[in-house]
């Protein structure tokens, strides 16, 4: 088997005349955490949706753990856990019932549901209807659903939205542990501190294209901003020109 868990070759996604993803190619190794960053509409979510089989590419190909998503989508999905940006649940199921349903559909051990509920601190609301959950609780439920079944590839679209600081910290630790067991993670986020501290490599997208890629350190060097916050590095590379808080003033 290839050492790359995710392989994307010349992936292109169009919405009418709009090019959402423009010939993006990237490989993510097994056990690697790869962060996708970019402005809203840069194409991150479209690329992620194509990876998990929710959208069809207009050109190019994607393979997950060696399974081409066009030829073997069902097998590719067996290895994947996904947190969508927009969370839709059965409002009148309880959190626990929902996770058991997801575990059943993933053919995973339902005993893991208890562990996920414990980890995401959903114990007090596990028997309450999801319709009554706050935004943070919904996000935690979505994360628990994505991680149920211990998939080999985790695709997390904006995992931090709605989470409190404590849970963000806890999630960072969880991502580290998932990485250690060999799981590959593709994460999109606007929180640059999280991106820098969590990921092995970062890809910056702009207008559907991957405009810069490398380790956080390599990107710093590329932008020539070794001591500036990572946010400035992102702005510098994403806009194609150097940008810092100082120059902004």
């Amino acid at each position: 088997m290839s050492e790359n868990s995710i392989e994307i070759v010349e992936a292109t996604k169009l919405y009418g005349k709009l090019v959402a993803v423009d010939a993006v190619s990237l490989q993510i190794k097994r056990g690697e955490v790869y962060a996708l960053v970019g402005a809203n509409g840069a194409g991150k979510s479209s690329l992620m949706r194509a990876i998990v089989g929710l959208a069809q590419l207009d050109a190019g190909r994607i393979s997950i753990c060696g399974h081409d998503t066009k030829k073997n989508l069902l097998r590719a999905k067996r290895h994947t856990g996904y947190l969508p940006e927009e969370l839709l649940f059965y409002e009148r199921l309880t959190g626990k019932e929902y996770l058991r349903l997801v575990a059943g559909l993933k053919e995973a051990d339902t005993m893991q549901v208890e562990d996920e509920i414990e980890f995401y601190e959903l114990k007090t609301v596990e028997d309450k209807w999801i319709g009554g959950y706050s935004l943070g609780m919904r996000k935690k439920l979505g994360l628990a659903a994505a991680m149920t079944g211990r998939p080999q590839v985790l695709v997390l679209d904006e995992p931090l939205n709605g989470l409190d600081v404590e849970m963000m910290r806890k999630l960072r630790g969880r991502i580290k542990r998932e990485q250690e067991r060999g799981c590959t993670l593709l994460v999109s986020s606007h929180v640059m501190d999280f991106v820098e501290r969590t990921s092995n490599r970062v890809g910056i997208m702009r207008a559907g294209r991957l405009v810069a890629e490398g380790t956080p350190e390599e990107l710093r060097n590329q932008a020539g901003l070794s001591d500036a916050p990572f946010e400035d590095v992102f702005f510098g590379l994403a806009s194609g020109k150097e940008f810092s808080l100082k120059s902004d003033k």
Partner: protein, 482 residues
């Protein structure tokens, strides 16, 4: 199979819990409204003069038309069930769930909805027509066959409808769809006739019907399954993006000059949403409205059931002549049919009402927008009915203009009543539809016979109805609850 049962169990649990929160509506209000409608219908049926039995061909044509309306009415909803992009099931698209499971989940949902509607209608019809609600197994078998056939036809039509937005060969798709749906409509019509005790006169009729309907059902199911596995991944996104911008922009421009401020903006939005999201229901409403007008035309042209009014009679005599009353009745029914889009729109907009709340829209503005919406979408109704009557010479020359005015008056009354009830039960569009139509059609029919009384009622009653409508809208804006 295991995954299908898991999803169906979750769906059922979700629905049962929803129902447990709606006990008043489901156990008291709905049976009351439906029961009263049934009793009224049975009274009318028992007092109605025995009409000449229509020929088998005419009866089959009419029921096939009804079945085709039924198929069309489920297309939009069926598309959202198959391509579940706005439902909780959307997440399952990223899980290792095969395409057949997605399709059969949608099919089970469709079956449940169709069974609920057709089950009630045909049990009621059978007891009205045969005067005995004998629930034998054969009747239930034919009913089940009709339900399966209708649900599979709706799903096939929904697949074709969504795919038509993406494919280049639209004509071929349309022809293919029509070739499969026309027999489905004809067989569905024949099954309907069979259910209301209208046995076929030719030998072995029921055997042929059984074979035909079963074959058509399995063919539809098989073809739907094959097409779904080919198209799903490509059509999933198109299903979420079905929009129509050119007509919607025209709607926006048309409203710009007529109303001011918030009402105008809301009205433009409502008309845009109607054109963009309810296309199948709009087609259905237009079709039904046309059906009323065609029925009037056929009745006036081909039968002598409605005696023509003489030109020499005075205007006050003419208003109660049968052909003119029939024209007015059709105006009422057509108006109600088109204005019935309102509760669907209100239910669709509920999750997005935070915008109105946030920008300080008043209850009066909200209510006015919905009232004008009902009036605008039903505006063609009086013109269609009047044109149908006038084109058959049923309206004497000296009553052409008064008839138009009467039809316009009935349109204004019925659409205003439906608009006024917009926020009576906004979270339950099905029930709201029944209540609104029962009330507005009853008042409309009464006024079509006794318009002077109707004028008095309107003058003295409309301010109270408007006040109630505004108060309900305001209450709903403040609480967000029904």
């Amino acid at each position: 199979m295991n995954k299908l049962s898991l999803i169906v169990a979750a769906l059922s649990r979700d629905k049962v819990r929803w129902a447990s929160g709606q006990l008043y509506y489901l156990l008291v209000l709905a049976p009351l409204v439906l029961g009263l409608s049934y009793l009224t219908a049975s009274r009318v049926a028992s007092n109605a003069p025995i009409a000449a039995k229509p020929s088998s061909l005419l009866a089959l044509t009419l029921t096939a038309l009804v079945e085709s309306c039924l198929i069309l009415s489920g297309v939009s909803r069926s598309a959202t069930e198959i391509y579940n992009v706005r439902l909780a099931e959307n997440y399952f698209n990223s899980l290792p769930v095969n395409l057949g499971t997605h399709l059969f989940t949608a099919f089970i949902k469709r079956l449940a909805r169709v069974a609920l509607v057709l089950g009630f209608v045909f049990l009621a019809l059978r007891s009205l027509v045969t005067s005995a609600a004998d629930l034998n197994l054969i009747f239930l078998f034919w009913l089940a066959l009709l339900i399966f056939l209708t649900a599979s036809a709706q799903m096939f039509a929904a697949l074709c409808w969504v795919h038509s937005h993406r494919t280049q060969s639209k004509l071929a798709l349309l022809l293919g769809a029509v070739m499969l749906l026309m027999p489905a409509a004809a067989l569905g019509g024949a099954l309907m006739l069979n259910l209301v005790s209208f046995p076929f006169s030719f030998p072995h009729g029921q055997l042929y019907l059984l074979a035909g309907a079963a074959t058509e059902f399995f063919a539809l199911l098989f073809i739907t399954s094959v097409l779904h596995s080919r198209w799903r991944i490509f059509d999933l996104e198109h299903a979420a993006m079905l929009q129509s911008s050119r007509i919607a922009n025209f709607a926006s421009l048309a409203t710009k000059r007529l109303w001011g401020g918030s009402v105008r903006t809301q009205l433009a939005r409502d008309l845009q949403l109607t054109l963009r999201f309810f296309s199948a229901r709009v087609y259905l409403a237009l079709w039904l409205a046309a059906l009323w007008a065609i029925s009037l035309f056929v009745l006036l042209v081909t039968t002598d059931l409605l005696p023509r009014a003489g030109v020499a009679r005075s205007i006050f005599e003419l208003t109660w002549s049968p052909s003119i009353v029939a024209t007015k009745v059709v105006a009422v029914l057509t108006t109600a049919t088109l204005a019935a889009l309102l509760p669907l729109l209100v239910a669709y907009e509920l999750p997005y009402l935070w915008l109105e709340r946030a920008v300080g829209v008043t209850g009066k503005q909200l209510w006015q927008a919905k009232c004008w919406y009902a009036r605008i979408v039903s505006l063609p109704a009086p013109l269609i009915a009047w044109a149908a009557g006038a084109s058959t010479n049923a309206l004497p020359a000296n009553y052409i203009v008064p008839a138009l005015l009467e039809c316009l008056w009935l349109w204004w009354l019925v659409s205003t009543l439906i608009g006024a009830l917009a926020f009576e039960m906004p979270t339950k569009p099905g029930l709201a539809l029944v209540v609104m139509l029962t009330f507005a059609v009853a008042v409309g029919l009464f006024v079509s016979l006794l318009w002077p009384v109707g004028l008095l009622l309107y003058v003295f009653g409309i301010s109270q109805i408007a006040g109630r409508g505004e108060a309900r809208a305001k209450y709903f804006l403040l609480t967000g609850e029904d």
